[in-house]
């Protein structure tokens, strides 16, 4: 059985990617499961989704703790201690990373001890769909890795998306983008048997929940204003970039930022708090001069702390 886990950010399409893959596998005659796992957060926050594919009925349920294949749809998640997308990856497993770096570079940079494949699907999404939504693209990549057919992928994209979008043109663009990604990636030989059905959890089925006193189980927050520690800056796809020659210090951007991420320096000029800016780009949209523009985040790691 193939066990795949997609890691993305809310709004990128990890859930739909897992569904496209599961549907394509089903159309190819396999048994399939796909399901998302949400945290208590929103668009931009880490999201995981899973797909299981097998030749026989799948008896396993629930989250996949030990995946064969991990698809990382946002590179910055690799450094997120709360997400840990590579946790539980089986020895000899495959990691597909959405990055412009080569597999060797990504392997060295993130110290990954597994087979690594890379493809910059954000760029492909922006070029082919006009927006950084990666659901069908990641689905296409995964379909190639597990060896599904091109026809089933096309059918699956149409089937899944027709219940979400009504725009025929956008649907066709998605099919084209999925097939582009399907053909752009070279699969690695894998030793995963589609027939093997094993349960990877042989622990006790009873979960023990020890009783804690209220002071422990429902703790009070005694700190004030500590959310900046969360560093929501790694949510960005685009970053607002400043060109101060045109700035008139009108303060419109400061008044328009929902998160209060535009601060004022000693000379009265506004600047972005890149550690926390979520990249909504309202400031770019609202700036009456040409002071603010947008630049694609190639590598969030290099940007944070600038």
């Amino acid at each position: 059985m193939y066990r795949l886990r997609f890691h993305g950010r809310g709004g990128q399409g990890a859930r739909v990617a897992s569904k496209v893959l599961g549907t394509a596998a089903f159309l190819d005659g396999y048994y399939a499961q796909d399901f998302p796992l949400y945290g208590a957060e929103r668009r931009g926050a880490p999201v995981a989704a899973s797909t299981r594919i097998a030749e026989d009925p799948i008896m396993e349920r629930g989250v996949i703790p030990e995946p064969d294949i991990v698809i990382v749809m946002d590179e910055t998640l690799l450094q997120d201690p709360l997400t840990m997308p590579l946790s539980g990856l089986k020895p000899g497993g495959i990691v597909i990373i959405n990055t412009t770096n080569s597999p060797a570079e990504a392997k060295a940079e993130y110290k990954i001890n597994a087979n690594v494949l890379t493809l910059g699907i954000t760029k492909i999404g922006l070029d082919m769909l006009g927006m950084p939504i990666l659901s069908t693209l990641a689905g296409g990549v995964a379909a190639r890795i597990v060896g599904l057919s091109e026809d089933s992928l096309t059918e699956a994209v149409k089937k899944v998306l027709s219940s979400i979008i009504t725009d025929k043109k956008l649907l066709d663009k998605n099919v084209a983008a999925a097939l582009y990604c399907f053909n752009a990636i070279t699969p690695i030989e894998t030793k995963i048997e589609l027939k093997t059905i094993d349960t990877n959890k042989k622990k006790s089925t009873v979960i023990s929940l020890p009783f804690e006193p209220a002071a422990v189980s429902s703790p009070a927050i005694n700190a004030t204003g500590n959310t900046p520690l969360r560093m929501t800056g790694n949510w960005r796809v685009f970053r607002p970039a400043w060109n101060y020659e045109a700035c008139t210090r009108c303060m419109i951007c400061v008044a328009r930022c929902p998160d209060g991420c535009i601060l004022i320096n000693e000379d009265g000029y506004p600047y972005t708090d890149y550690d926390n800016c979520k990249g909504c780009l309202i400031c770019v949209e609202e700036c009456p001069t040409n002071t603010l523009g947008k630049v694609m985040e190639v590598h969030a790691k290099k940007v944070i702390g600038n």
Binding site: T166, G225, N226, T227, T232, I282, E285
Partner: protein, 328 residues
């Protein structure tokens, strides 16, 4: 007119004689941030922008009573964006929670255990699901009892936190998770948005206003004006919601402006029931401009143009402004 110097009608007792400082432009907005970044709300959240300005106007000596909704996620253990205290309640009872806190503060002050200078403003913060639907009776009771509190409703016109389901605030013909346009109902939601302003205003509270994240000067001035009244001070903020309304996060403010410019969202205030419009567009834009940029109304234009529904929305807006004799 209330708000210019001394107040005559105070709805009870103990109004401070204070001079209001109205601000004139965006440059006069207080620079202090009382809500810090790093919150888990979506990028481009219109409600968060409205709340950020509300927090600037309210200051730090407040306690927030938050009914379940998107904004309960602002404070997730062990993080909080606020510098003030915060209490979480169920969806139907935030004003009841506010009553408890208000009474506790009043008793502590009366007994001399709390310095009157340490007094806190009690602020209820809820979404539209709570304000329009579940806590309507609790709010009605609190206004009726003349509870001294603020109420901020961030109205994103659906249950956004649980995946955008229909709420009492959802406008006519909007697509939501529970009102998908389809064969039987090609227009989506068939019911009109509740007029919560009118419902609350029928209680004649000391201060009631609608606000918009795109008009921060108007927003802050309304809070300054409300400050002088003892009793319920209620605010409804139209909050464009990028995932729920199907818009790009960068378009939040533009859309909030369009809502005002097309007349869909009337910026108004009511002091003891006396209504006054604070921002009236010189020339109203057609409502279609507001609708066509939103994914939740896309089915009104494609694949078949729903002329009947579009006319009904425009007529509803025209009827409102005609009734108030403000349509030019």
């Amino acid at each position: 007119m209330a708000g210019n110097g001394a107040i005559k009608r105070d709805g009870g007792k103990g109004v401070k004689d204070m001079v209001m400082e109205r601000i004139k432009s965006i440059k006069d907005i207080p620079p202090e941030e009382n809500m810090l970044p790093g919150t888990p709300t979506c990028a481009g959240c219109g409600g968060l922008l409205a709340l950020r300005h509300c927090m600037k106007a309210l200051g730090r000596k407040i306690v927030i009573v938050n009914a379940a909704g998107c904004f309960t996620l602002l404070t997730i253990y062990p993080y909080t964006p606020f510098k003030n205290s915060w209490l979480y309640t169920a969806m139907a009872c935030a004003p009841a929670g506010a009553q408890g806190i208000r009474d506790a503060l009043d008793i502590l002050i009366k007994k001399g255990r709390l310095d009157p200078d340490e007094n806190l403003k009690v602020v209820v913060l809820t979404g539209d699901g709570s304000a329009y639907d579940m806590s309507l009776s609790s709010t009605s009771g609190a206004i009726n009892r003349n509870l001294d509190f603020y109420y901020i409703c961030y109205d994103n016109e659906a249950y956004g936190n649980t995946g955008v389901q229909w709420s009492g605030a959802t406008p006519f013909a909007s697509k939501t998770g529970t009102t998908p346009p389809g064969m039987l109902s090609p227009i989506g939601a068939e019911l009109a948005k509740k007029d919560l302003f009118a419902i609350w205003n029928s209680h004649k509270p000391p201060y009631l206003a609608t606000i918009s994240p795109a008009h921060p000067v108007d927003l802050i001035n309304k809070f300054k004006k409300a400050e002088q009244y003892k009793g319920p001070k209620l605010f409804i903020a139209l909050s464009p919601c990028p995932p729920g309304w199907g818009i790009d996060p960068s378009y939040t403010v533009k859309l909030a402006k369009l809502a005002v410019d097309t007349g869909v969202w009337a910026l108004k205030e009511a002091v003891f029931g006396n209504l006054k419009h604070t921002v009236v567009p010189k020339r109203f834009k057609p409502v279609e401009e507001y609708l066509k940029v939103q994914g939740r109304f896309a089915h009104l234009f494609k694949p078949v143009r729903q002329e009947g529904a579009l006319n009904k929305i425009q007529e509803g807006v025209d009827e409102y402004w005609n009734r108030h004799k403000l349509l030019l």
